[in-house]
Symmetry: C2
Subunit: 256 residues, 2 copies
């Protein structure tokens, strides 16, 4: 099973959470049993499904510090075939708590061993940093998706992130591969969007998903209703793009 | 001198770097001698002034680990009255290196003691996390500016950040105060923008800057030319807003 995927980029606000929430929803709609793990202390992915703070007592933090069994923390969402392990701000304490542990990079990997066979896909949302939480996610997965906002500053971090991927591949997790670079918030009226996406396609060729996620206001409205955009407005350009992305990834699966 | 200001928010992509680069430029244009400290390993603020990687050998990392004297790392920008201490990806190693140091929260504060009297304003750009680098910035400053993107997910982190501010005030730096919450990327066509800004104004009243930064494509184009937007296009709505913000802050100074 190579369908454990981390969605990571240390650049902030590039669409990591939006991609996890909506790609997972589209996968579930294609009858793939899918689990989201919210590994960002901000808990935005949990909020994207309307999970209240009072409902996050059994969360990733309580699993990683051994208080809760992973099976007890898995919550259903309103989407059939889609479950989530939520997160609360407590998770920001985990980095300090793990720092002197022997196998601190593999805590998450060891925990999800128990649930790997239940799901077709597992998607992990990462915080905007290359700290221990993101490292835990990169050590637990087989694939990495890098959302890349089509803005100038976002290009800067890409080299650093790919170096980190190499480092992880050579020292911690030899199975991890780049699933692809996903261009997000593409705005055809903004000449920078075109410049950045041409640049990335030239350098990374077939490593860039054919699907491009357009900037679409409906995408940013959906979380305030606690819904993925595919549920909030299935016909909008954002939903169509995420559905196409799911199709592209599922088809890549067939080639493996 | 209370004009050392951190610009921080653990939510990613909310306009921290854009605010530091352009607010500092507007302050310098009002004849305030200003220094930017780039404390984000991504080094976006340094890129915003066109500083090449090859020119960042003397950077914040080399100062914090004692290899370089702070005065040797200060670089002029193309803007009169405005200097910058640049950053390179090396800085991401500092958190590991400081973790066992006794006064690890005060490394930055102790370093900038030597330059505080040279400048009217010092602005520190923070990474999108509440780790040791941001903590160092919060312990070194008298004021905090919180850029808040007018988007739903961005509201989530605000409570957490204000709790952290309280924690820092009570345990590390009794002088720090909130200078204000800055609404950024406001788009009047997006009903979420209005919802979020009304919400924030209701809760935080006079703690919210009157100046609102509109979403303006010229702002995101400027970094690709290595220029602040006030230099790239002084007449655009983004430049006008950052100039108005500088005026608002300088006027607040008079009331102190
Ligand atoms: N295609 C899109 N069109 C319009 N808005 C979008 C789109 N994708 C994401 N957004 C909005 O942009 C903001 C940033 O996206 P998101 O929070 O998913 O990024 P992130 O990388 O997870 O951020 P962080 O680094 O803080 O974790 C959010 O407010 C989101 O609603
Ligand atoms: N007012 C604005 N109008 C349009 N685009 C903007 C505006 N402010 C910032 N941007 C763009 O939005 C993106 C995010 O802004 P910026 O990088 O300054 O945020 P940040 O909070 O520093 O991100 P990080 O969390 O990664 O440090 C950048 O590509 C920037 O050019
Ligand atoms: Mg996120
Ligand atoms: Mg930044």
């Amino acid at each position: 099973l190579n369908k454990i995927i981390a969605v990571a980029n240390q650049k902030g606000g590039v669409g990591k959470t939006t991609t996890v929430v909506n790609l997972a929803t589209a996968m579930a709609a294609c009858d793939r049993k899918t689990l989201i793990i919210d590994a960002d202390p901000q808990g935005n992915a949990s909020t994207g499904f309307g999970i209240k703070y009072s409902e996050r007592d059994k969360d990733l933090y309580s699993i990683m510090c051994g208080k809760t069994n992973i099976l007890d923390a898995i919550k259903d969402t309103m989407i059939p075939n889609l479950s989530i392990i939520p997160t609360s701000p407590d998770l920001s304490a985990i980095e300090q708590e793990l720092v002197n542990l022997k196998d601190r990079e593999y805590v998450l990997k060891n925990l999800i061993e128990d649930v790997v066979d239940i799901y077709d896909y597992i998607l992990i949302d990462c915080p905007p940093s290359l700290g221990l939480l993101t490292l835990n996610a990169l050590c637990a997965v087989k694939r990495l998706i890098i959302p890349l906002q089509t803005e100038f500053y976002a290009l800067e971090g890409l080299t650093q992130l790919l170096k980190t991927l190499d480092l992880v591949q050579n020292n911690f997790n030899k199975d991890i591969k780049l699933q692809g670079i996903l261009l997000t918030m593409y705005d055809s009226r903004n000449k920078i969007s075109e410049m950045v996406s041409n640049d990335v396609k030239e350098h990374f060729r077939d490593k860039v998903f054919k699907t491009i996620i357009p900037r679409n206001v409906r995408v940013s409205e959906a979380p305030s209703f606690g819904q993925p955009v595919l549920m909030y407005d299935i016909n909008c350009p954002g939903s169509q793009a995420y559905a196409a992305l799911a199709g592209e990834i599922i088809n890549q699966e067939k080639d493996l």
